[in-house]
Subunit: 136 residues, 2 copies
Amino acid sequence: MNIKIGDKISYRKTFTQDEVNAYAKASMDENPVHYDIKYARKTFFKKPIVQGLFTASILGGLLGSKLPGHGTILLGTNFKFINPVFVGEFISATIEVICIRNDKQIVTFHCFIIKEDSSIAIEGEAVVMYKGEVFI
Amino acid sequence: MNIKIGDKISYRKTFTQDEVNAYAKASMDENPVHYDIKYARKTFFKKPIVQGLFTASILGGLLGSKLPGHGTILLGTNFKFINPVFVGEFISATIEVICIRNDKQIVTFHCFIIKEDSSIAIEGEAVVMYKGEVFI
């Protein structure tokens, strides 16, 4: 594997209300706190928030598209959801290689997502298998 | 909390290609194995597969919409991705209460998703805080 400990990549993104609505429908995660501004205003969050696992989706995107990239098989994730992400907020997701098992081609990543105010939204680990793009 | 150990709920769903394409774009998880039939045919999977964290999204949906329901705050997830889920495949997701900390209103769920062939797609735990729908 052409991957070494310390390799990392980041990606900035904002989730739009349209994306959150489509995810709400597909995932059945239709809590009004995700899309109803009047409802959200009455809650602790004050503004619509992105579904936690949807926020985490860009960590999966980085793994599957960038590092290691196509051919990545996700084996496990362990995420803590520390602060909510608001619809329209710019966040920065980072994955960094922290462990490599060359014998089994298994790589562990430290994953985190930082909010606009520099607090942590999500933090955890992901374990993947990567044998490159294997065609049969 | 009106929740007890052993409470559980299930939901059956199939992910459509349109849903997978929209998620691929939003999450940047644009590996062609998720949407390109010709590419997928050459891989180990043979058919397009749903992104792992997108499959897990219905576990988040059950927590946020059904049990405990609106007002649920996701604190953590720990998922193992055991077998792939194909686009168009019927899967069954289940969450079951396995631990309750009434002092902190924290509930732990055993989560699993079963494939059409009865094998496990995803298995793990989710921890949530639930104080009901708290309005301020």
